[in-house]
């Protein structure tokens, strides 16, 4: 039985889809069978970031409505054998998803894959609630700024109230993933510190992903940063986060701004 992990945030634009792709690819590279499920029906993006948008025929709505088999809709990644994507539909809306249908799809995936990552849509409405409904674990993606942290807190409340695990009296395992962390701005006090974020959310930290131009480039190229630029600091941070998700225990290093002689010479490169 595989583990179902929802990647959620409440707020939009914090990096859920990027994180889903990067974490999923990093876990799949260790040989685990991984499925990425895009729940953002009507605004699908995960297939773009995975570079699979040219191969989409069927999507999750077709599977739920019974017009396609799950095996037909899953797209195998061309770089990693054990990585699959279940795309969302662009021409429908969230109402096309039913709870029973989503439950059946997740159960089937759970029986075949080691990890199922659910990319939640932004917000706290139906789509986001369906994405988290059947999860065993949650990765809450947060930027170090007040509105994002507040929305994450709201989502944590929902995770503890509205998921199947919660309704069965168990608790869902939660991790905070801080993304778009700008060491220079943090050192000037323009961002919330990591300690503040963790104190407000009182949830264990999975990793800190530095703000990086390379992530945007990787997204536009359709390759998760953990596959395309493994030496990049953001990619390394995602790979470490994926190891922690798989149960390894090692400390998170807060990125700091290096101001060495070389940096002054070669221009500023944070972390």
């Amino acid at each position: 039985m595989g583990k179902v992990v929802v990647v959620t945030s409440g707020k939009g634009g914090v990096g859920k889809t990027t994180s889903t792709a990067a974490l999923g690819a990093a876990v799949a590279k260790t040989g685990k069978k991984v499925a990425l499920v895009d729940f953002d029906v009507g605004l699908r993006n995960l297939d773009l970031i995975m570079g699979a948008e040219r191969r989409v025929v069927f999507d999750i709505v077709n599977v739920i409505q019974g017009t396609a088999k799950l095996s037909q809709a899953l797209i195998r990644d061309k770089r990693v054998e054990s990585l699959f994507l279940l795309p969302a539909s662009q021409t429908r809306d969230k109402d096309a998803l039913t709870e029973e249908g989503v439950g059946e799809v997740i159960d089937k995936l759970r029986s075949v894959f080691d990890y199922v990552f659910c990319d939640s849509p932004a917000g706290i409405e139906r789509g986001a609630q369906l994405a988290m409904r059947f999860a065993d674990e949650a990765v809450i993606v947060t930027n170090p700024e007040v509105s994002s942290v507040r929305d994450s807190d709201r989502i944590i409340g929902l995770l503890d109230a509205r998921t199947m695990k919660a309704e069965q009296g168990e608790s869902i395992v939660k991790h905070v993933l801080v993304t778009r962390y700008d060491a220079a701005r943090a050192s000037r006090g323009e961002m919330l510190s990591i300690d503040d974020v963790l104190e407000i959310l009182s949830t264990p930290l999975l990793g800190i992903i530095p703000e990086s131009q390379d992530i945007l480039r990787a997204s536009n190229m359709g390759a998760p940063v953990t596959l395309s630029e493994t030496m990049n600091s953001a990619a390394r941070a995602y790979i470490d986060a994926a190891r922690r998700l798989e149960g390894e225990d090692f400390p998170v290093v807060v990125p700091f701004e290096r101001k060495g002689f070389l940096d002054r010479l070669l221009g500023r490169r944070a972390a």
Binding site: G42, L43, R44, E53, R54, R55, V56, V57, F58, N62, Q65, G66, T67, A68, K69, Q72, Q90, T91, R92, T98
Partner: protein, 242 residues
Amino acid sequence: MTCATPIQKKSIRFRARSFVAFTLTPEAPLSDWLQDLDQWVGNSPGFFAGRPVVLDLNMLKPLADEIAGLIAELGERGIRVYAIEADSDTTLGADLPPRLTGAKEAMGDALLMQQPEQNEKAAAQPKVKEPQSPSSLMIKSPIRSGQSIIHPHGDVIVLGSVASGSEIIAGGSIHVYGTLRGRASAGAQGNAGARIFCRKNEAELLSVDGWYCTAEEMEPSSRGRTIQAFLENDVLRIASFA
């Protein structure tokens, strides 16, 4: 189509009006048909709310005492039967909706939406009883991501571009005079002679009569070009216009 000729007391003027009604055609075995209907209603809740439905009993040919039970079954599903279409040897009691004859097939967006892209070959589509008089749908504005244009009978002509993440489903052919970046499914009701024409092919998916080809499978030489897609011996061919 239903025709109503209300007779008014004040002036002796007959007016004919036509309304579009849905026809449900139950088939034996009835329990299976009702199960399929339930699944359909489950996928599109509220679809029948407030829509006039005509019950076509020519396929099922039920006994007179079975009809009331069937109408009650449909009533439980929120489907109100306005009239019954049946040949003259089916007797309809006075407590049943009136008999209708002389129906014409209607067309337009009110028809049932069908999933055109079945695997490999479209599943058995309901047989159209009379030949359609196809109408073409002309769209002068660009089609945006997320929009879905469904025109079950006839051609779709788009003067602008069709964005990535949108889809056009047509019973006939599809003509796009701008760039086609979305998905196009022609011959969706089982018309192997339908074609897709576009001035610039950046399509995510082209499909004719259920046979499809994704962007990945297309020849790179056909991308960005003026092309037509058509079926040839059950193979979807994408040929550029010279």
